[in-house]
């Protein structure tokens, strides 16, 4: 796709979680490798919001950190705006750095991600000072004032410290800081999870306004499906390091295909569900150090058969979809075993 701003090709990130060398030798234990991200391929178009959902430990935050460059990919590559910025064939360091200027990250905890000893104006100006150190002071001051106004704070708030602000206001400061280098791409890792719902609504509305005004592209990571449903254009569902389903939002929420997506959507408590009883899903996310063979979801999947227990399903475009559209990694969907079963499971 030519309009893709960010492209991931088969990105793998493993962590060495082996016991110390001496213990390993004495107790004859093998090395332990955790595949936090296990072969993710996706692309994000300009101006689009890609939502990424999944339960804790599924690798969504690791993936965000690989994209932004906080972790190097173990395999595969990350391409941003035509420049390979991570993995095989990455360009010169200077070119990578220049490309990275176009992306910024917003973190979950607005209490931990702002330096309590710095004034807000310095916090917001820091990325500019770091990435463009020769910017004149007056220009920085004017930029900070404009940024604070843009996120709904007063320019005079710049002289205050983070503790003088509420959680929602702090997250606005984080957003102002992320916008200070005029990025085109924002990676938001659970940006509203620490906030109360009324404040979450303020931040989500602000993010949508900024996107429309500045043509931003978002990767929006959350465990909250309702929030992703609200903000995303396209949604990817992750399970144990892999994307199991990716589809345009309306499509995914109206007709989920993968059994895990169906299970997640059925499990979300919703205001519309007063007095409705439902069958709860069984089971837990397996230990990522020893994932089940074949499809990693098979122990919890009501439609699993022998093939699912042995063969890893690949992310395949659905029948009649152009490449890059809706795709699912499930043998049962591919074989058409599932659509008849949907009616049976719903009763």
């Amino acid at each position: 796709m030519s309009d893709a701003l960010v492209t991931l090709e088969d990105v793998v990130r493993t962590f060495d979680v082996s016991p110390p060398w001496l213990d390993r030798v004495l107790e004859r234990q093998p090395r332990a490798l955790l595949r936090a991200v296990d072969g993710v391929t996706l692309s994000i178009a300009r101006g689009e919001t890609l939502g990424l959902v999944g339960e804790s430990g599924c690798g969504k935050s690791t993936l965000a950190r690989v994209i932004v460059g906080l972790y190097a990919p173990t395999e595969g590559r990350v391409i941003f705006d035509g420049v390979v910025i991570g993995g095989d064939g990455a360009g010169a360091a200077a070119a990578q750095r220049a490309a990275r200027r176009g992306m910024q990250m917003i973190f979950q905890d607005p209490y931990a991600s702002l330096n309590p000893r710095w004034r807000v104006a310095d916090i917001v100006a820091e990325p500019v000072r770091a990435l463009a150190p020769d910017t004149p002071r007056e220009a920085i001051d004017a930029r900070v004032a404009a940024l604070l106004a843009q996120v709904g704070l007063a320019p005079a708030d710049g002289v205050k410290y983070p503790h003088q602000f509420s959680g929602g206001q702090r997250q606005r400061i984080s957003i102002a800081r992320a916008l200070s280098t005029q990025p085109r791409f924002l990676i938001c890792d659970e940006p509203t999870s620490a906030l109360d719902v009324s404040v979450q609504a303020q931040v989500l509305n602000l993010m949508r306004d900024l996107q429309q005004r500045m043509g931003l592209t978002y990767l929006f990571i959350s465990h909250n499906l309702a929030v992703v449903h609200h903000i995303a254009d396209r949604v990817g569902v992750m399970y144990l390091g892999r994307i199991v389903e990716i589809a345009p939002k309306q499509r995914l929420f109206a007709r989920p295909r993968h059994p895990y997506t169906r299970m997640l959507l059925d499990a979300v408590p919703d205001l519309a569900m007063t007095g409705v009883s439902r069958v709860a899903v069984a089971g837990d996310v397996p230990n990522p150090l020893a994932p089940p063979p074949g499809c990693t979801f098979h122990p919890r999947c009501p439609w699993a058969n022998d093939r699912c227990r042995h063969e890893v399903p690949l992310l395949m475009p659905l029948a009649g979809e152009r490449p890059g559209g809706a795709a699912v990694a499930c043998h049962a969907v591919e074989e058409g075993r599932l659509d008849g079963a949907r009616a049976a499971s719903a009763t």
């Binding site: 719902v197 989500l204 929420f253 979300v268 409705v276 709860a280 837990d284």
Partner: protein, 322 residues
Amino acid sequence: MHAEPLLAVDRLRVEFPTRHGTLIAVHDVSFDIAEGEVLGVVGESGAGKSITGAAVIGLIDPPGRIAGGEIRLSGRRIDNLPYDAMRKLRGREIGAVFQDPLTSLNPLYTIGRQLTETIRTHLPMTAGAAQARAVSLLEEVGITAAARRFDQYPHQFSGGMRQRVVIALALAAQPKLIIADEPTTALDVSIQAQIIELIKRLARDHGTAVMLVTHDMGVIAETADRVAVMYAGRIVELGPVADVIHRPAHPYTAGLMGSIPSIKAERDRLTQIDGAMPRLRAVPSGCAFHPRCPLAIERCRVERPNLEDVGATRAACWRPAR
């Protein structure tokens, strides 16, 4: 209410004396819970919902104190009990489930030991009988291979399983009332759904009354029979869950519901309540919500509304939606 409700809270007031004056965290809060009923208590951070739960179970940290009102359990007053009597009551008649299952369990003892100890503290049972009861409790809360897991330590359980163990602990002495403070907040959605189901089943099958404190309206919608919405230390709306959620009378409730994204509805913008919950040190005059309220009139600024019947719910508002 014809019969005496299981739990009756009447004009409860909780104060925290500080250097800058006394803060009133819970202000004139009254509600009751019947046997087998799940009462949801919702509100944003700082609304006073957790303090209300802590007051019922007698766990308010000093210098905080209950400064007024009454709490009655099965007709007996429990807010003024001496420390030891309250200790006996806790666990025996009121169980508690807190947000973080890891800090509610002792990491040094096996699950089985913690359960049997709790059972034997409250019930006259032999070690063998207590162990049998512990295993059946674990089975009841949905832990498979309970007999084998009995001898495992908390770190060997996943988050959802730990929360089940905590619920089993709360049930150990068959209390009549369970205070559940954000029981699903630390859990993933699929596990959360399992715990919600479990809480509902307990209320239905055992007649246990549940006070469910949470900020998650989705959880309340599916679990509670009635809901109390708290704002700045007071209940602003109280009523059956469907009415409060779908036909709220108080503008705060309406704003709160509108600000929650849903997977069932397509909306361009969420309703936005500007501003934030006031600090306890500076609660506005009149109706505490008036600075954020789109409908506020002069009267709201000077005169505080009381909870009044408004259609199917009770709301504290001068300009309710019905």
